[in-house]
Symmetry: C2
Subunit: 339 residues, 2 copies
């Protein structure tokens, strides 16, 4: 039997209801028999809600928390003032090695600040970044940073390239993932000083075979799947991510409307509904856009703010893979030995 | 009869073929009987191609140019070394008031540099920016800057807000267009120093009724249509635009594939094809994403690099409106009197 994997789950402080969180965890528990949970939240509520959710009820421990970090809390305040919140205690559980990864739907800034303080960064990494797995025409790619590091200098971009490449290597099982640096054009002279400098360094590292740098890529290349990893700063990455989410939603609305134009087209829509469901799920940010905090000593996964059970179980599966494939340890090894 | 409107058209240096450009101009000429063109390019080629394109052939003058600016030319080189290129001569035609607007599918950086030198900026505007009309769920909005100004400080963001608001006022006929500032979150404390500072100034200007500032918006709010104008720096804006283009293309590919899953769904797709054509056109960047250079003394419109006749005629219609509605003059009046 596989070694058991334990996740610390922050069950408070998000727009996702407790029942959706628990149902989501259960879906993953049904798929992975060696998966166990420690749930942080109001124990009375959790115990009542979990009673009929099986096998989650027999594979969870509940730790009572009276305090929660709100979406509106400032990260620094949340860190200093809410030491007994469900978020802080779930991260403590990982830093004391009682669990192997943290899952939260809560305040991203607070989750980042507390994780950074308690789990610390690996090797030469100064600040963690947020990576996500994006769908593209060919399959999937890793995009980072999606909002951890607003002030981007060349060093952070290089760190992101190293982290993204290491993540793709382990998660996608690709020996030398190609890395694109997001810019306003693909010509060498394009872009600001940071991307120019980062591109020079990445070219040098590529020539030493430390990583596989493709060069500059443009916004459209994310969904084209031109490279396996797309690197950018947290400001641009966050805006690109949310613009893509909004666009996908808008295009789907247009399509739905177009198919209401005649009875036959409505019928066609009905008959395509199974395939369309897959399309919708593939594009639904609540399902697919969980954020993987990269560069820390242990995996931290942040679900989309408006996740439902599907999104939660997707995020749990990611956290499970990160632990099972020992991604953080392998990333550290790559950082120390190859760079 | 309406006063005649003259456009200077750069017919060289792009991926769009001469015949597509001419057919596109002709489509607009058919719609607007007071529209005339001066065409800059190889006169032998143009005269031969235009012979059977009516009414364009009787409403155009051709000015021969042997030199063209290539997509790969550096803007500064193009400006200094290619004084007799079709692009430079078409801009000269407007600066000497023989035409009222320029249209080009060529090198964006060169077009910006030469326009800035020869047409100059209005009032307090230091650098022009590139605006575009984006489709959203409710209708359309103005987004800028899409790549003119890579280094964004608070002043450029304010300029963009003023220019975008003035453009929306005139083009959409909205008295007080709402302005959103693109950021990584909507909370006051979010984002970098530039957006923070710009937001403070815009709030102050809004309280003096100089413009209608909504506050921070996120990437998804562009296609939600939360505000009429969305302001950002040229680096982020360009990446957001291209990410949206790529995403729209990807979602459409997924849909097409889903509708191939059964005969009935194929039939439904066929019966929805008229409505779907409208959707495709609405989303096609070659049709809708022309760039309007804002902040200059005369309108300059840059067609998408891979435009076809539809895209060209859409861009001509925009240039026509900008001239007819005297947008540049009105923007200058707003800048001098209201700000």
């Amino acid at each position: 039997m596989n070694k058991s994997i334990n996740l610390a789950v922050d069950c408070m402080g998000s727009e996702t209801s407790l029942i959706e969180i628990l149902e989501g965890l259960n879906e993953s528990a049904l798929r992975k028999e060696n998966l166990f949970f420690t749930l942080f939240g109001k124990s009375a509520d959790i115990n009542q809600a979990i009673e009929n959710i099986s096998p989650l009820n027999i594979r969870s421990k509940v730790i009572n928390c009276d305090d929660q970090i709100l979406m509106t809390d400032k990260p620094t305040d949340a860190m200093k003032l809410k030491k007994n919140s469900s978020m802080q205690l779930s991260i403590d559980h990982v830093s004391s090695e009682k669990s192997q990864a943290v899952l939260s739907c809560g305040n991203t800034g607070a989750l980042m600040a507390i994780s950074l303080l308690k789990l610390r960064t690996i090797a030469s990494i100064k600040r963690p970044s947020i990576a996500s797995i994006w769908p593209n025409i060919k399959g999937e790619s890793i995009v980072l940073d999606l909002g951890a590091n607003i002030k981007a200098d060349a060093t952070s971009l290089i760190d992101n390239a190293i982290l993204g490449s290491a993540l793709a290597k382990v998660l996608f099982n690709v020996p030398e993932p190609s890395i694109g640096l997001l810019n306003v054009g693909i010509e060498e002279m394009k872009g600001n000083e940071n991307v120019q400098r980062a591109s020079e360094i990445l070219t040098e590292m590529s020539s030493k075979k430390q990583l596989n740098y493709y060069g500059f890529v443009e916004g459209a290349d994310i969904s084209n799947g031109k490279t396996t990893v797309v690197v950018t700063d947290g400001f641009t990455g966050n805006i690109a991510l949310k613009t893509a989410e909004g666009t996908a939603f808008m295009v789907q609305s247009y399509f739905k409307k177009a198919f209401k134009s005649s009875i036959i087209s409505k019928l066609g829509y009905f008959f395509a509904s199974l395939s369309l469901r897959t399309v919708r799920e593939r594009l639904d940010p609540r399902v697919h856009n969980c954020g993987i905090f990269m560069g820390l000593t242990a995996p931290v996964v942040k679900c989309h703010g408006k996740s439902d059970r599907l999104g939660i179980s997707y995020a749990v599966d990611i956290a499970y893979s990160l632990v099972q494939k020992e991604v953080n340890k392998k990333v550290e090894t790559i950082l120390i030995n190859e760079i």
